[in-house]
């Protein structure tokens, strides 16, 4: 007997939220607490939460530089995003050159962090950050 679509936690990516046919399994078991206004999954006691809107992604390249993505995944506005050297595996006191690789343009040398101009929502700035010798 189909009893509709239930809010369902999908663990492999996020975890994010979906609706699926109601199955009364743990991923569809939620505890609504009107005292503290939380909605917790019964399986892991985690909270239904708004995801952070501003993300920094990074990965190493073969020449000791880092590829960095400043990602505004919010649904509105435009704002600067800061990448800290310590978040991408560089010493905080080290200077590094920053290049905007979409624009194919060098932005200069920075120490400890780089703060971008405003980045529109649903948009990115992609950088190559190369520590100075």
């Amino acid at each position: 007997m189909s009893i509709g679509f239930s809010l369902n936690m999908f663990k492999s990516e996020g975890p994010m939220l979906y609706v699926n046919s109601c199955n009364q399994k743990v991923d569809q078991s939620w505890i609504w607490n009107s005292d503290d206004s939380t909605i917790r999954n019964q399986h892991n006691s985690q909270c239904l939460t708004l995801q952070d809107e501003i993300e920094v992604w990074a990965g190493p390249l073969n020449d000791t530089s880092k590829a960095v993505l400043l990602f505004n995944r919010g649904n509105g506005g435009s704002e600067p995003i800061t990448v800290k050297w310590t978040d991408i595996g560089l010493p905080a006191d080290k200077s590094a050159t920053v290049r905007d690789i979409w624009a194919l343009k060098d932005l200069g040398s920075f120490t400890g962090s780089y703060t971008s101009p405003n980045i529109e929502h649903h948009s990115v700035m992609m950088l190559k950050i190369t520590p100075s010798k």
């Binding site: 189909s2 009893i3 509709g4 679509f5 239930s6 809010l7 936690m9 999908f10 492999s12 990516e13 996020g14 975890p15 994010m16 939220l17 979906y18 609706v19 699926n20 078991s29 939620w30 505890i31 609504w32 009107s34 206004s37 939380t38 909605i39 999954n41 985690q46 909270c47 239904l48 939460t49 708004l50 995801q51 952070d52 809107e53 501003i54 920094v56 992604w57 990074a58 990965g59 590829a67 993505l69 990602f71 995944r73 919010g74 649904n75 509105g76 506005g77 704002e79 990448v83 991408i88 290049r99 690789i101 979409w102 194919l104 929502h121 649903h122 948009s123 990115v124 992609m126 190559k128």
Partner: protein, 176 residues
């Protein structure tokens, strides 16, 4: 998010439905994640913007870098705009952004109109794009219950919370 769980399909750049900025975002995420860059649009009808996006040498170089190490998310913060939130996850109740602003995990359930509203922005827990299929995404969007013109008559924003069965059932397919 662990690397092993990431799934990358063919690129959607140039297929319509996204803005130019969103195509650059999509291509950037594929590039930094070392995902295969497989063009998914009709190259006989490619726009100049799409062509430029798909052929940026330095972005492709990140993808093809010989070290071959996937990039990943290294930090997250909260937007300065309180109504910018659109995605909802299930996470530790004490993540740093929730400690700073508990409203990020606080919800108001209205048992009359059946909405579940974020205390942060007042927006409604919704099935994305009125999708009535299995595994439709659930997101936060503007509440539109009282608007006759709202897609799917607001059903994508109506939920029945049942404390006994511990279920939260959508009205979307009308079977609650």
């Amino acid at each position: 998010m662990s690397n092993s769980n990431r799934r990358f399909l063919v690129l959607e750049v140039g297929n319509g439905g996204m803005t130019d900025n969103e195509y650059m975002t999509h291509f950037s995420l594929w590039a930094i994640s070392k995902a295969p860059l497989l063009i998914g649009c009709d190259v006989t009808k490619i726009s100049p913007f799409t062509l430029a996006t798909l052929t940026n040498r330095e972005v492709i170089a990140v993808n093809q870098d010989t070290l071959g190490v996937q990039g990943h998310r290294v930090s997250t913060t909260v937007s300065q705009y309180s109504d910018a939130a659109g995605e909802v996850v299930v996470t530790d109740c004490l993540v740093s952004s929730s400690i700073k602003e508990p409203k990020r995990h606080e919800w108001i359930y209205d048992s009359e109109d059946r909405t579940i509203r974020s205390k942060l922005s007042g927006r409604c827990l919704s099935i994305n794009n009125c999708d009535d299929a299995e595994s439709a995404r659930v997101v936060l969007s503007e509440c539109g219950l009282n608007n006759e013109n709202t897609k799917c008559q607001g059903k994508s924003q109506k939920w029945k919370i049942n404390p006994v069965t511990k279920s939260i059932v959508s009205q979307m397919n009308g079977k609650w």
